[in-house]
Symmetry: C2
Subunit: 225 residues, 2 copies
């Protein structure tokens, strides 16, 4: 599959690297076509990959146009501007996988969520910005390494998914199973479920501090019988 | 121990009932000393308990004055007014266990959090309202039945705790272990950790809808070493 990735940070390069490893053609998009991090990523993968040339880079618009499916992997605060640069026409009715979190680092002590609890989510704002796209929220509740390698965390643990388009969610679930190795996926319903997934980040951040590692995740345990 | 409970809803009566069963003297406080729910609760326990008379009821002020330790079990939206009625002088430097959640039911579809994410918590507002009290946040992340009976959920699962006073937290941890049967307690640090515990409620509420039962909880799984 051809995959466009918006964002060249740790999430974008990790997701992109894994998908190249898995045999996909991936274009990493950034503000400029010659972004240093994207170039280094593509060069590193060109030497490692069985399929040289499958790791590409370009602008946000290039990556959005290139992908059959597009991953949004920027900082939450940049997401809406990046979509503007990527251009809605390049995304069209494609699946847009939203991995962002609306975190603010303006308060010194700990990051905070800048969307007030429960009445909106960044994912829903993203859906409004590209109304034809089929936005699916997932993977935002774990650190990048765990996103593409759940076995880094011991035991069977859980991922969440939310989105308005059932077929798009089904396709992303298959991708999470087959390419990344996720087993248990909780479908939280329509895209308003993203409010819950983004709101959890406050606990995730605090647990990172408590545990001393970002390599952890949740398992939901249920009532007996 | 003498225990004061503020609130006669499902959380207050469940916590109070369990503590009476465990041999403590419990006073359930409400706006009026003859609150119907508190009276029915006390009468029911009087017939069941090995120690008749150990289940009492009174005003919020009566319950706050009665307890060596006080549990705040009201709706989040009522918490600050209830503390005003209970009177800070009656609480003094006691441990105040805060089980509340800042949920709003004004939006029809799903409850929402009315505190904006990550920069404040209801627990911190409560601490400001009764500055001498040693506020400890815990138990707000599970349904009432699971609070006092964690074995309702299969497997070993986790509870969180936060507060500014280490000795108060240690005492509440002991109570959670010995009276309610909790094993794994994650200490999220000072009372700002309550932001994370309250923010999680969005995910808890959504999972309740997805799972069809409130009898569930989280287990934190960590990286393989």
């Amino acid at each position: 599959m051809k995959i466009g990735i918006l964002g060249t940070g740790i999430v974008g390069t990790t997701i992109g690297g894994k998908l190249v490893e898995r045999g996909h053609e991936v274009m990493l998009g950034s503000r400029t076509a010659d972004n240093a991090k994207a170039t280094a990523w593509a060069e590193r993968l060109a030497t490692q990959s069985a399929q040289p040339g499958s790791a590409k880079h370009g602008t946000f618009a290039d990556a959005a146009a290139f992908g059959d499916i597009v991953f949004l992997c920027t900082a939450g605060s940049a997401a809406l501007e990046v979509l503007r640069l990527a251009k809605a026409d390049n995304i069209g009715g494609k699946i847009l996988v939203d991995l962002t979190n609306p975190l603010s680092f303006s308060v010194k002590s700990t990051p905070t969520l800048y969307i007030s609890g429960g009445v909106n989510s960044l994912a829903e704002q993203i859906q409004k910005a590209v109304p034809a796209a089929r936005v699916v929220k997932t993977l935002n509740t774990v650190t990048a390494d765990v996103m593409v390698n759940p076995s880094l965390v011991a035991g069977d643990h859980d991922m969440f998914i939310a989105g308005n388009d059932e077929r798009a969610k089904a396709q992303v679930k298959t991708l999470l199973h087959e390419e990344f190795g996720w087993n248990t996926l909780y479908d939280l319903g329509d895209l308003s479920g993203a409010r819950a997934m983004e709101g959890y980040l406050l606990l995730w951040l605090r647990l990172w501090g408590t545990l001393g590692t970002p390599n952890f995740n949740l398992k939901i345990l249920r009532s007996i019988s």
